[in-house]
Amino acid sequence: MKTHWQILVVDDEEVMRESLAAWLREDGYLVDTAESGREAVEKATQKDYAIYFVDLKMPGGMDGIETMMQIRRKYADASIIIITAYATVDTAITAMKEGAQEYIVKPCNPEEISLLVSRIVKVKNLQRENSILRKKLSRQYRFQDIISKNARMHQILTLAHDIAGLRSTVLIQGESGTGKELIARAIHNSSDRAQKPFVAVSCAALAETLLESELFGHEKGAFTGAGERKIGKFELASGGTIFLDEIGDISPKLQVDLLRVLQERCFYRVGGQEEVRVDVRVIAATHVNLQQAVADGKFRDDLFYRLNVIEIRIPPLRERRDDIPLLARHFLERLAHELGKDVDEICEDGLKALMDYHWPGNVRELENAVERAMVTCHGRALTADDFAFLAQNGHTKSWTPPPGMNLQEMEKLAIIATLQRTGGNIKESAGILGVDRSTLYEKIKKYEIPR
């Protein structure tokens, strides 16, 4: 964890500066030096220093206290240690008041400096870990936690397990609620990165500029409202895995930026000039058909191929109905405990209601359905009546068009889906779609739908 933190030694006296820097380097830290307060402030804007050793007395109109104040104004969380040859109570009080973390009198006992630095680094490591822990869901999934007896799912889990140890980018495709993040977390937790952060970002939730700063961080003053430097998710995931959900929704500009990160393993913070290098495994997920988005020119093909090194397609729940009873019972068991409800069974008719439903929201919807049924049920077993709301859902649930799709594209998809369902039967398809056969032929030709 040491090499992660960089130190700046500021002293006008070369021998003092270089000897301390050399001593700290032997301890494994990355150390830079500055021979004046001005140079220190300049260097602080180029690199993220965790600790500053600043000599109190420096010529040129900018002493240690002034240097510290200027650095702290920009980087409030910088730890500054003031060094002085003359210990006076006054200067020590001034230094501490202005925010110095410590105050040492040279020559200083090596043990003292060593303890000082390791104490600061310990706190910094804890702060970093804490911010990661707060930002990620506290749940740690493993492959054993994924419940399925479906053969296709087992193939997927085997593949995911096999590729966990690799650094290759993974693209997980599947409808909303199929458990894309669950698979991503399981891959992360089975890899040698398990002890490092797993950082999940939903690319659909934020506007382009916000997402850019969310992913790559920003420098203080990079835009209105950027009051402090912010570390992005890529940096937070350093050494670990970043999970980019809804990757299909990102703007063309971010697609370029992301391509660069995947190719070069480095990026710039928004408004920053320092190149930041990261070792991060990327797992992307999407509910839209990315291949189609590439064909339609909405998604860069080079980015798609970079992301799609390993492809995992999770089938929707309606295509693996054999998992419904298993999952429903699992949720029942867990929720009974969480809700403190004495419900321990799902009746035959209740199960039939679940099997008959089409589950557009997939496993997540099933989990919510079981929870709702348990909250309202009165007996010890869930019946078809407890799941009556599903039938209503089926009719009243408002349909939303897939994001980024126009009317013609939706019409094309509707025709393709209907033809697939009828096995290419034009008469039947035309009947379902409510158009006559000649119109359907025209549209098939217009949209170049292969038959």
Binding site: M16, E26, N109, P110
Partner: protein, 178 residues
């Protein structure tokens, strides 16, 4: 052929030097040569009554023989760098030269009766430590590894006169050095 050189300043007991040479430097699997060094009075600081380790390293860099892969100096003088009260030794990280001070390794320094075994053990560990720095090793978190940071003799005594597996793996292979 490149050698590991070891040299002592004139006041050093030849036995102590021989011990460092035969026990510590033998660990690196490279041929070892011995050389004579001049005194380091030029590095004396009257205010501190100590010797600056930086001018010593500069002198060593100048007088290292052309066939020296590394040069480790041993001195009885008490060494310091300006910001610290003392150092047990210093080396150029990944560089060619390093120095070890025996002054604070003796029990007598702490008002205790002499103990040759303890003294020699400490000298070997510090020689390994500084030579490790010359080979680019930084401090190790393993308290028993020769590369762990020692700021007092207790910590030196806790170490073993050997590198941990992780540090040993970062050293050049034996074949590369001979």
């Amino acid at each position: 052929m490149k050698y590991l050189y070891v040299g002592a300043t004139p006041e050093v007991d030849p036995d102590a030097l021989a011990f460092v040479r035969d026990v510590a430097l033998a660990n690196f699997g490279a041929p070892v040569r011995q050389m004579e060094l001049s005194g380091i009075d030029f590095a004396y600081d009257a205010n501190r009554n100590q010797y600056g380790s930086i001018p010593v390293l500069e002198m060593l860099a100048r007088c290292a023989p052309a066939d020296a892969r590394k040069l480790l100096a041993v001195t009885e003088r008490d060494l310091f760098i300006p910001v610290l009260t003392f150092v047990f030794g210093q080396a150029q990280l990944g560089g060619r030269v390093g120095v070890v001070s025996l002054a604070r390794l003796r029990q007598e320094f702490y008002g205790l009766p002499p103990n040759c075994e303890v003294f020699q053990g400490r000298a070997v560990k510090e020689a390994l430590h500084e030579t490790g720095h010359m080979f680019g090793l930084v401090h190790c978190a393993d308290r028993t590894c020769a590369m762990s940071l020692a700021t007092n003799v207790r910590q030196i005594d806790m170490k073993q006169a050997a590198f941990c597996a992780a540090c040993a793996a970062r050293l050049p292979a034996r074949g590369e050095l001979s």
